[in-house]
């Protein structure tokens, strides 16, 4: 569970305080799927960095799983990032010299897990995103969608309770983006809290709840995007999801098998950067 109280973040720029986040209050329950929306420069990325323990608020209290994050030292914060949070970035952020498998192994190296178990678990995670057959490829041998799937495998390999995705579809075409979003939906169904940062209503509509950030403040939805439009998008996805679901059991592989067979070809194209 994530609880933010009176979170303020300001930077000292040219001798003046630039306030990026003003008095944010936000509670996200375990298992929620939340989108944080807002235009560029609204402070949504800063908010995400604070939730992800990459940044510290100037003031205010952040409780992560009932624990005050400001009490943690550097090393403990690294531990939180390693164990409790999985990051997915717009630019995938895979290490170019490492294979897909080695990239997925990384969080486990820092968790101090032995080689044998690492490889097993990394293979399982890649299997889950449907890329087991490409695990020995370098990132530049993978398409944009495949790269993001490797990044998702890396984010879930330590079984975190929260996945933070910063514009995860921003560098992908619409179709591939949809596949990635379906994947987050399924991960959320398995109980993982998914927090999505985006400026696209289409992407935000996958979430159960959308939070809007404008000028460093949380605002109501209508000011940013037509509420009705959003509701319409949401119902559309919901019905699509129900079509995907077979009983209660959901498997990520099914999503990819389906999309790939639907197209008859590879479901993704190389994203432009």
């Amino acid at each position: 569970m994530i609880e933010l109280h009176n979170i303020v973040k300001s930077y000292l720029v040219a001798g003046e305080d630039l306030v990026v986040l003003k008095d944010i209050h936000l509670t996200i329950e375990q298992g929620e799927f939340v989108a944080i929306m807002g235009p560029s420069g609204s402070g949504k990325s800063t908010l995400m960095n604070i939730i992800g323990c990459l940044d510290k608020p100037t003031s205010g209290e952040y409780h992560l799983q009932k624990k005050l994050v400001s009490d943690y030292n550097e090393k403990e914060l690294a531990g939180v990032r390693n164990q409790s949070i999985g990051f997915v970035f717009q630019q995938f952020q895979l290490l170019p010299r490492l294979t897909a498998l080695q990239n997925v192994e990384l969080p486990m190296i820092y968790a101090g897990i032995g080689k044998k178990e690492r490889i097993e678990r990394a293979e399982d995670a890649l299997d889950k995103v449907g890329l087991k057959d490409r695990m020995n490829h370098l990132p530049n041998e993978l398409s944009g969608g495949q790269k993001q799937r490797v990044a998702i495998a890396r984010s879930i390999v330590n079984e975190p309770s929260i996945i933070l995705a910063d514009e995860p579809t921003g560098a992908l075409d619409t179709k591939t983006g949809e596949q990635i979003m379906d994947m987050f939906t399924l991960l959320n169904k398995e109980g993982t809290t998914v927090i999505l940062v985006t400026h696209e209503a289409e992407v935000a509509s996958y979430a159960e709840r959308t939070v809007f950030v404008r000028d460093g403040e949380l605002t109501s939805a209508d000011e940013v995007v037509g509420h009705e439009a959003l509701e319409k998008l949401r119902t559309k996805h919901d019905s699509a999801e129900q079509n995907n679901e077979r009983g209660n059991f959901v498997n990520l592989e099914d999503v990819f098998e389906e999309t790939e067979t639907d197209d008859g070809t590879k479901g993704e194209e190389e994203a432009t950067h």
């Binding site: 960095n49 992800g52 990459l54 940044d55 550097e74 090393k75 690294a78 531990g79 990032r81 390693n82 164990q83 990051f87 970035f89 952020q93 895979l94 290490l95 010299r97 990384l106 969080p107 190296i109 820092y110 968790a111 101090g112 890396r154 330590n158």
Partner: protein, 403 residues
Amino acid sequence: MSIFESIKMAFSSLFAHKLRSILTMLGIIIGVGSVIAVVAIGQGGEAVLKSMFSGEANTIELMYMPSDEEIEADPSILYEDAFTQTDIDMIESIPEIEKVVSSSTESTNVRYQQESTESMVIGINQAYIDVHGLEIAHGRNLVAADFLGGSRAAIVSEEMKDELFEDGEEKDASELLGTVVYMNNQPIEIVGILEAEDNFFGLSMNSAYIPMNTWQTVFADTAITEVSIKANSADELEIAGEKAAAMLNTFHEKDDAYQILNMEEIADGIGKITRIMTIIISSIAGVSLLVGGIGVMNIMLVSVTERTREIGVRMSLGATRGQILFQFLVEAMTLTLIGGLIGMALGSGTALLVSHFAGWQPLVSLPVIVGGILFSMLIGVVFGLLPANKASRLDPIESLRYE
């Protein structure tokens, strides 16, 4: 994260930039290589010099060195003969002494027909040949009969032969045997020619050896200039020398004019000189290591900048600042360690090659090798610390955004 993982990571990132890594290592390779070569060659040379000065065949030299007080009291003391045959006979009676080697040297004119040369003529006793051995290339050595009878026979060096006979028609060396030359205007027959000396320092002399009795007749001089003794065993050498010196001092009523040449002091002196030379050359090599270390630091700083995003990613995945610091430190250390190992191989190879050609004992000692390895690792730590620290201080958010 285990050390093994860090080393593996370091290798893979060094391997990704092979040329850069090799060029960076070069400074360390040259530095470590030259230190090891210089120290090994220095120690080999020192051993050779010491063995040269500590006297061949376990001998110790007796010296006639009147002290300043004695010279002041009686200046004529300087003109007295250092040693006489009586002295030799006397110290031969000391039980610890096996042989007393005596020789006298005079520089004089040696003439053959129209040719003449300035040469060292050395009078020797039989013990001299027994102890030092003269390597004869042609003819015969001096034998007991020559010494007892004081025969006018000489063994000449290759150089003297060349000086005296080079202008004449090319003669076979053996044909020169039996030729009579004039030393200090006294006829002497050449009975043997020495093996051409071919030592490392190129010290070959124009010289002739004749029996001591003959020398005393030729130069009308009873003085013996050099005396050295050979003891029954190496352990007794010092005692034998001291006994001989004491006996001579007592006999000649001197305080301390007769002394033994203290080999240890000389050896220490030589050691000091070679050590100083080693230090000087090693400091130059040290400068090369310093420059190499700066090169490592430079390339590591470049690497940190290049890999800013990687550092950001690693931090977001849960790497602590300590782990990032360690990773880059291990990388710098791996770089210098590999450089050190290559340098060591090259340095040892050079030292072995030099000692092979100089005919020395190869002296690449274990402490030097271990020291070299540790030192190259230390360079990695020292010069890797700044870049590694820079890497660990990066802000993960900024780093993730870095293009």
